[in-house]
């Protein structure tokens, strides 16, 4: 060890938030892809489900959701829902379980004793979510297009919609994940508490089941939560416009999608800010 006394060199400043944020992002991504279980249950799960639906139910060829609508492949129907599920898994489920585990095993306490700013810590988490979520969406689109022959839209305005639905959706999901990470009391209970929430949301929000075929009261309940709006936004991007008649109000209603996601994003931000602590409780 170098024989330099710390006291002899005062005044150097702590590295800035941007630099440590990027530093943390790299570390987070490294950790993410080394954890086999998250790679499967968070990263590959929507891809796996898309493939499963297409192979299991696609045997009869294309189907018609309504007599007046054009036929569509199983993969084509499920692609928007799986993209939305990806946002929920990569943002919400991933961060909620991850941060709850870090709090419970003492990682957060250790980080709290260093000059790492909480802002940089979250920049690292959000950066990890942004990178893994983007890779996941790209993989989903590639598998849908090349393995299952789904025609991806060509119009730039559809991709613009995709961009903001993706960005708003994954940010809101990530912030809500941070807020909910305060709920589980131990690392062991983290998955038990978080995964069922995500799973139920996926069933009622049009991810696994076609949303228009759910009863109205269930659709109303689902409309309270953000996943339904992510899925609706994704349907607006990837389904032909004729399918808008299946939506409530017989239109894509992108303004409501925008509003709902924005409200959840702000709610998530406030809740995350209020609930986050480096250590579990300070009496």
């Amino acid at each position: 060890m170098t024989a330099v006394t710390a006291a002899a060199l005062p005044g150097a400043a702590v590295p800035g938030v941007l630099r440590t944020g990027i530093h943390r992002t790299r570390f987070e991504i490294l950790q993410y892809f080394r954890a086999g279980d998250t790679v499967f249950f968070t990263f590959l799960f929507p891809v796996f489900m898309l493939a499963l639906f297409s192979v299991a139910f696609g045997g009869d060829g294309d189907i018609r959701l309504a007599p007046e609508l054009p036929a569509i492949s199983m993969a084509g129907i499920h692609l928007p829902g799986m993209l939305a599920a990806g946002l929920l898994l990569s943002g919400f489920q991933n961060l909620a379980v991850d941060i709850a585990s870090e709090r419970s095993d003492g990682t957060l306490k250790r980080l709290g004793g260093t000059p790492l700013s909480p802002v940089a810590y979250f920049a690292g988490k959000i950066g990890q979510v942004a990178v893994t979520g983007t890779l996941q969406a790209a993989l989903l689109l590639a598998v849908a297009a090349f393995a299952f022959g789904v025609d991806l839209p060509a119009e730039p305005e559809r991709w613009l919609t995709f961009t903001w639905v993706f960005a708003l959706g994954i940010t809101a999901a990530a912030l809500l994940g941070v807020a909910v990470s305060a709920l589980p009391r131990t690392a062991k209970s983290a998955t038990a508490v978080i995964v069922p929430i995500a799973l139920v949301l996926q069933f009622i929000s049009g991810v696994f089941l076609t949303f228009s075929q759910l009863p109205d009261w269930l659709q109303d309940i689902a409309s309270v939560f953000p996943l339904k709006w992510m899925a609706q936004g994704m349907r607006a991007v990837f389904l032909p416009d004729a399918f808008a008649v299946l939506e409530r109000g017989e239109g894509w209603n992108l303004l409501s999608v925008l509003l709902a996601l924005a409200i959840w994003l702000v709610a998530g931000l406030v809740a995350a800010r209020l609930t986050f602590r480096w250590i579990r409780r300070d009496a």
Binding site: A6, A12, P15, G106
Partner: protein
């Protein structure tokens, strides 16, 4: 620059109605290694966590490197190194990756490979932390504590679970840090470790400071009075005296024979420590009461 790394005056901490720390006062000089001794649940960990900035105090005044830990910002944290009692490790990354990550948080970190070598993990540098033994993981903890070149290092039971050789090597590592001028606050259950490393020690029991001083004076002269033990008419007898030889001679003369099972012993550090802790258990107000009250009035002024 102030000469004290740590100044604690009349520190109090209550949880609900329970008092965990009840008026503790001590100072630690810069460059000093200070050991905190005491049974579990005695208020030792609470005190250290207040110094580290993890917990807020209920009363009294605390300065760590001249700063109130309750207001300590990131620049202040950059001057500390904290090795917690038991902490989670990012098991999926290697020793070098983890140290590089932490080095990135500090303004003037030590060299990563240098620190790996100092804790004796060169051969494990590219091994994932989850694959290391418990003792090796503990060395990673210590490496993370010193990577930021701290002025003040907290070590909470650093060598629990070490084999004797690993403990010796760890002591050597601490001596290098001492030579660098690092102030060290060591919490330990091993009195030999405190005797090996610490300049001074404090015994905390029942939320109060029971003794403070250099290791060879801890507990005061009365705690070190030699003991003469012998058997007389089948009963074990003992006498504490400053003149054990004269006492033994007088005893021998009185009995007219060599006293049965005669021994003259000086209390070991462990004997002294156990006496202090037992006193605390039987008479909770011993000694500390006066200073605690004086500190309380002062604490209110400060707040």
């Amino acid at each position: 620059m102030d000469t004290h790394a740590v100044q604690v005056t009349g520190l109090r901490k209550t949880y609900g109605g329970r008092t965990a720390v009840d008026g503790i006062t001590f100072e630690i000089a810069r460059g000093e290694t200070f050991a905190l001794l005491g049974p579990n649940g005695a208020g030792k960990s609470t005190t250290v966590e207040i110094l580290e900035g993890y917990r807020r105090r209920s009363g009294g005044d605390v300065r760590v490197l001249g700063v109130d830990p309750g207001d300590g910002g990131l620049d202040w944290k950059a001057r500390l190194g904290i090795v917690l009692q038991s902490t989670g490790q990012a098991g999926l990354v290697t020793v070098r990756e983890q140290l590089r990550q932490f080095a990135g948080f500090y303004p003037r970190p030590r060299d990563v490979d240098g620190v790996i070598a100092a804790v004796g993990l060169q051969r494990q540098a590219d091994t994932r932390i989850a694959k290391l033994s418990g003792g090796q993981q503990r060395r990673v903890d210590v490496a993370l504590g010193v990577i930021g070149r701290p002025e003040l290092l907290f070590l909470d039971e650093p060598t629990t679970g070490f084999d004797p050789q690993a403990r010796r090597e760890f002591w050597d590592l601490i001596r290098t840090l001492q030579a660098d001028g690092t102030t060290i606050v060591l919490t330990t259950h091993y009195l030999d470790e405190a005797a090996q490393l610490a300049d001074r020690a404090a015994v905390i029991a029942g939320g109060r400071l029971r003794a403070i001083g250099t290791l060879d004076r801890l507990g005061g002269p009365e705690a070190r009075v030699p003991i003469v033990r012998w058997r007389e008419s089948g009963v074990a007898r003992a006498e504490r005296t400053d003149r054990p030889l004269a006492f033994a001679n007088a005893l021998s003369a009185r009995l007219g024979t060599e006293p049965e099972q005669l021994e003259i012993v000086r209390p070991s550090l462990e004997d002294i420590y156990l006496d202090l802790v037992e006193d605390a258990a039987t008479s909770p107000d011993l000694g500390a009461a006066d200073s605690a009250e004086a500190d309380l009035s002062k604490a209110e002024d400060v707040r």
